[in-house]
């Protein structure tokens, strides 16, 4: 477990707005230890802890990806959707940025069947079989393809359950968290002042609302993943 410096610069972090929490009356008391103070009716998170947990999470990810473990990033908020997609594509991991379908992990066998169908349809489209079918059938299949691409586009290449799951907004992805708990998959989660830090394995206290904040944290995490993978390739 090497202690690597992940360049968490205080000025940068504050500029992005990671330290802002929700309104004071909307907090979860379990977050008491992560909150620094209250200003103008808004809770401020303790950035030292954020930095600590974030560096720990990055180490974990780097380690895991160097061993070839799979990571899944889940973020379905409006603000996070496209950021999650671009970050995951850069880091070459799986992602879910549209609705989290119930049972995506616990009912993995069914989802696998859907992924098969997805691959099947893509092949058909590539080879041009769709153009030879009658109009109505082709239209139905194309519609199916669009739907599959929308919801499962990010996990197209996932063959089994992921090893680590990164979750952007705990309140919004509560089903995802519960599924991970049931299956024993460790989670890294951005917790805001209205979230429960006990539900996740490594909480990162941060602002989960502002786009800039989400982007910054995702950057750090995906950097860690890429580094780990790069190291593993090197050592091979």
């Amino acid at each position: 477990m090497k202690q690597k410096s992940w360049n968490i610069n205080l000025e940068e972090v504050m500029q992005v707005g990671v330290h802002f929490g929700h309104q004071a009356r909307k907090w979860n008391p379990k977050m008491a230890s992560y909150i620094f103070t209250e200003r103008k009716g808004i809770h401020i998170l303790n950035l030292t802890q954020t930095a600590r947990f974030l560096s720990e999470a990055c180490d974990l990810l780097a380690n895991a990806s160097s061993k070839g473990k799979q990571v899944l990033i889940v973020g379905t908020k409006y603000q996070a959707a496209d950021l999650v997609a671009s970050a995951s594509i850069k880091a070459r991991c799986h992602y879910i940025n549209q609705k989290w379908l119930g049972g995506m992990l616990t009912n993995w066998s069914t989802i696998e069947k859907r992924l098969q169908r997805f691959k099947d349809l893509e092949n058909k489209e590539k080879t041009g079989v769709l153009n030879q079918l009658p109009k109505k059938e082709a239209a139905t299949l194309k519609r199916q393809l669009v739907q599959l691409r929308k919801y499962l586009g990010g996990i197209k290449y996932m063959t089994s359950l992921p090893d680590i799951v990164i979750i952007i907004d705990q309140q919004k992805e509560i089903t995802a968290i519960n599924e991970c708990i049931t299956l024993g998959i460790p989670t890294i989660c951005l917790v805001d002042t209205d979230c429960d830090p006990d539900l996740t394995d490594i909480p990162i206290p941060a602002n989960d609302d502002a786009r800039a904040s989400i982007r910054w944290i995702l950057n750090k995490l995906t950097l860690a993943i890429s580094e780990g993978r790069y190291n593993s390739i090197e050592t091979e």
Binding site: N9, L10, M14, G17, Q23, L47, T48, Q49, A210
Partner: protein, 422 residues
Amino acid sequence: MAAIVAAQSVAAGALLGSSKGFGLASSSSRLAGAQLGVKGASNGSRVTCRTAFTIPKSRQGLLEEVERRWEAALESPLAGVEFTHEEFAEVLSKYDFSFEIGDMVKGVVFKSDYNGALIDIGAKAPAYLPMAEACIHKLRSVEEVGLYPGTEEEFVIVKDDDDNGRMILSLRKIQHELCWERCAQLLADDVVVRGTILSSNSGGFVVAVEGLRGFVPFSQISARGAQSNPEELLNKEIPLKFLEVDEERTRLVLSNRKATFAESQSAFGIGSVVVGTVQTVKPYGAFIDIGGVSGLLHISQISHDRLTSVETVLSPGDKLKVMVLSQDKDRGRISLSTKKLEPTPGDMLRNPQLVYEKADEMAKTFRQRVAQAEAAARAEELRLQQFQEVGFGVGNDFSTVADDLGIDNLESLNASVEETAV
């Protein structure tokens, strides 16, 4: 399976012991995430029995590592962190943001749904721009105003954050101000604009012009019979000119007559005779519609004889010939007269038909007389001027003086004066 559970409980036991760390005030033991699932933890927390699955051995290693790291983070809170607690506290005030109602902020649109758009303004949470506030006109989607994901625009905050820290923005206000400015400019430039009639009330019409609502009094409408049946003109577009633009009192008054007047102005010269129909009869005269524009025939201008009421001579619908006395371009008024057209004074009352026939003749005579009068006036003026030039009183030109003295020009005179002075 029992071994695995036992191993977990050992780890849990270790956890129970280490309740130190950063102020874990709430619970004495902390069972996080995946551990909760495995252990089926109770412990007063709200998570109850979840031992539905057993964790495969391959994943054990990872779970343990995660747990270890979490512990480490709590035990050594500042290891590897590049700044200290105190530094953080200091810099905190520097990065406060405060947005008040009425602030102008620059924001980037990142998502638009059917009811509005989400805009990132750099606050805690993104702000919302509802459809109703996006534009003065009615919209079907915010894209019509040009707000695609990625565009940057200036907005004004109208509502402060609700519980989520989300602020409501508006473009409408800015557009409103711009519209009023534009209207003031159009008033100054005296430009003809087009407006649609929305509704009518007791005094006139309400029109929509330049995105704002304005008022056109009945008297300023030049269309026939506007007052009697206003429903005919609903939803029609008419040319208008601004009469009054007052933002503070939200007064926007326009005139149709002024706009159409400008078009038809050249048609009537002073002294020309035109056929007209009586539109309305008022105690002080009658409104005659000539060629689409209405002019006033004052009671004193109808006949040489004194009239008490107009109704005795004229009634709406009468056709008669009138002469144009004068035109007021600024207020879009035409003054008419039939007095001058009477061959003998008093004819209008006794024999309107005769007036009608003789109208052209009378007009010609009138014009001649007018021309004569003008010539006479001009001659008079000329005489006065010559009188002045002879030298009565200080003349406007010094040329006479200079000639007398025998000096070529005045400049040399000045120069010589200076020389002698020095």
